[in-house]
Symmetry: C2
Subunit: 477 residues, 2 copies
């Protein structure tokens, strides 16, 4: 059967998770390829998810007073070099423009890998007085990092993101902003993407180039690997000193501003796929599903069926995003396609249903079917979408908890990662040496020092010296 064939073309996730991911991304028509190596095309089904992410995240930003701006995509080399740690972190992976039109440039420009230096260059002339602070600016744009190995959504040479860049009068305000944005990210992931996250601080080894502190949210994928899903950095006054961003404070003295930056990217689409997907394809949380209900007419050539399908669509339009699949394909094919694309609800309507004044709703996440009287349709759909959203978060949380272990020494640590992947909570002395050893021996990195600390042991899991912090460890994308 045709519909079987379509589904069977996806590799099973237990057999080869990486191949399953690639298959889903392709069969659900999220991305396409061009001749541009390491870059991808985000096709309509993929971009519509990004539009829903962007819209809802932007709304949350604006509620907290964030203002959107747009800065140039080019950074003169001398500007990139102003902050020492920052240039060391990014220079090896930027694309360089050397010619404009037919002429060589006097100074080469890199395509922004991130825009700290541009925002600093801008704030330097735009901020004069404490009255100009805080500046809480954000931009939605694409950035470029010259990666060697790329994977759709997870790592590509160009990707879409938002980058917030703020300037504050005091260190306290900057720290407060860094944490506020991290909390906003965590809440967004849980409430909108149905992805539970661990909030914490990066170790010095893992922090952003130029930051005093990097905070992160870490999510666990279905295969047990971790995905850094959003970061928020506190720069202190380091960039301000490098760029000379000073303001006249209330006490009439010149002071340096304190800065932060924070970002989330199209990588979130990769997270949605790897947290919620299954062997039939994509499973979208209702809040980011471009189509929430797909109406599939059964025996659509029979009189009245298609009209009924359109009528139900028009009714449902008022409460959700809905479409009718009125193509010439068989219902079986349409079912498989709707599953592949991850639509949260499928609505089946055939001659018998119509006669009985009802229809069938089938949940994508559980495959559960419900018969619904047509007069209750809007109410049932609204409730079901809410239930699916909630259940998906709970299932993801349960999966993560099942894949989170404790280790008190290297033997335990090793044993866990020989058997499975996941998060491991273990104590750490605070020295980079131990992180390096753990990475070398187990290919595992520190994901974060979680805000919610637990006391698991008195000693470092690696060296046995007194422990300073509990850390989440994992293999990461």
């Amino acid at each position: 059967m045709e519909e079987k064939k379509m589904v069977s073309e996806i590799t099973s996730m237990d057999e080869d998770f990486a191949q399953w991911y690639t298959d889903v991304v392709k069969k659900a028509e999220l991305i396409g390829y061009t001749s541009v190596k390491g870059c991808m095309v985000i096709k309509p089904a993929g971009f519509a998810i990004w539009e829903l992410i962007r819209g809802q995240l932007d709304e949350r930003f604006k509620e907290t007073g964030v203002e959107n701006v747009y800065l140039p995509m080019f950074i003169p080399e001398s500007l990139l070099q102003k902050e020492k740690d920052h240039v060391e972190g990014f220079a090896p992976e930027v694309a360089w423009v050397t010619h404009g039109g037919l002429q060589p440039l006097q100074e080469r420009l890199c395509v922004r890998p991130t825009s700290e230096t541009l925002f600093c260059d801008f704030y330097k002339d735009d901020v004069h007085s404490y009255r100009d602070l805080p500046r809480v600016y954000n931009q939605w744009c694409s950035v470029v990092r010259w990666e060697k190995e790329t994977r759709p959504f997870l790592r590509s040479r160009e990707f879409l993101w938002q980058e917030g860049h703020t300037a504050h009068a005091t260190a306290e305000e900057a720290e407060e902003c860094t944490i506020r944005m991290l909390n906003l990210y965590a809440d967004f992931c849980e409430q909108v993407l149905a992805i539970p996250v661990i909030k914490g601080r990066k170790t010095d080894k893992e922090k952003f180039a130029g930051a005093v502190a990097t905070y992160t949210i870490e999510a666990l994928m279905h295969d047990g690997k971790a995905l850094q899903s959003g970061t928020s950095h506190n720069f202190g006054d380091g960039f301000a000193r490098a760029f000379g961003i000073q303001f006249a404070d209330k006490d009439n003295t010149l002071k340096y501003v304190h800065q932060t930056s924070w970002g989330m990217t199209t990588r979130l689409i990769g997270a949605i796929i790897m947290v919620h997907g299954d062997n039939e394809g994509l499973v979208l949380p209702p809040k980011v599903a471009p189509v929430q209900v797909c109406v599939i007419p059964i025996q659509q050539k029979k009189e009245g069926i298609l009209d009924k399908a359109y009528e139900l669509r028009d009714r449902l339009k008022k409460v959700c995003r809905v479409k009718v699949d009125d193509s010439e394909k068989t219902p079986g094919w349409k079912f498989a396609e709707a599953e592949m694309r991850g639509y949260p609800l499928r609505l089946e309507i055939g001659p018998k249903d119509m006669e009985a004044g009802k229809c069938v709703l089938c949940r994508r996440d559980t495959r559960e079917k419900t018969e619904v009287m047509l007069e209750d349709l809007e109410e049932t759909v609204t409730k079901l979408l809410e239930t699916i959203q909630r259940d998906m978060l709970e299932r993801a949380r349960a999966h993560r908890d099942r894949h989170t272990s404790l280790a008190v020494n290297m033997a335990e640590f090793e044993k866990i990662f020989n058997e499975k992947t996941g998060f491991v909570k273990a104590m750490w002395c605070g020295r980079q040496e131990c992180e390096d050893i753990i990475k070398e021996k187990l290919s595992v990195t520190s994901r974060c020092i979680p805000f919610e600390q637990e006391h698991i042991a008195d000693t470092c899991v690696c060296c046995g010296k007194p422990a300073a912090k509990m850390v989440y460890w994992g293999k990461a994308y």
Copy 2:
């Protein structure tokens, strides 16, 4: 007085229109500068206008079935070269990336000046059958053109835009799409931006590199110069042949697709400034005003005044975009600032108004003041915003009509442009020679061959040979 000073810092538009424009752009805080030559920062007040343009234009796109996508920003040199006319048009003004990370690239990449070649490269593998057509894709992104002389919004090395790229089974469908999008643009300019436009076709001399036909909407600025405000191109099957984009048609033969592209840019913000602005600054049409009503409390330190201002804001929030200026500045300063920023309505509320249960509304476009009973506030504001939107379009139309003349020979043509600028309608024989002569003698270009033709004379305004078409001519930005 402080507030006078702020206003007097703008050059009068009659004295020096170009300087007036620069002053408005800067004092209304639409743009800022960085060290990146020829590029600009779009500040919050400017970007908020772009967000309103983008949102409303995108909504209209989606109503006609347009789907959004995202394609890479880089174009390999070999890809740019595939269509001969296209590369000739764009190669002299692109930025070239020659290094990725620390390595020189095997093939250099240009930063997209426009994405026809990328869409073709993508459609080549994505379109197989007539069932895959039409493809009506659009992307919102930035593009780069290495301009020598730049002006904020009007011409910069990087600018924001949308670019639609479509593929169709037949020539008729492609032409139909080209015209549909042009009409959508014209309607958007008139209904949303309050800018009347002339719809027509570009002469061969002025058409897009690689197009069979370019259609345009042309607007007249306050200084009498024309601004090309949106274009829609029909490519026939030229690109399809160059890139090999074929599909199996219903009759089972392989055919080339027919393609179109169409775009509008941040240049529209320049048009809004130059069509509606006055000597007090920006004047925003309500539909693209980030703040539609600015509430200014008078004697705000008096008890109850600020609370009343907030109460009115909270009521108005339900019907419009509103803010309270509760800063420490004097009311006079606030008035001047609200005018500079172009807020359509200013609401004044002071102790006497409060006592009388009323407030004062002042229109930005006409300066007209109205006393309003507070109980009628929402209704009055809603109606006034609609009136302002309509009146602004009518005023712009009247201005354009006053600055549109007829010429039947070169003497008349010359006389008009010696006295003033504006649109001139004149007959044309259809030969590029005459366009060249007119450009050389009068610094005037053909703006478009309007869809609404008029018979002004039998002969070409330049050579006196039989006329083929009536053309709009003008000096252009």
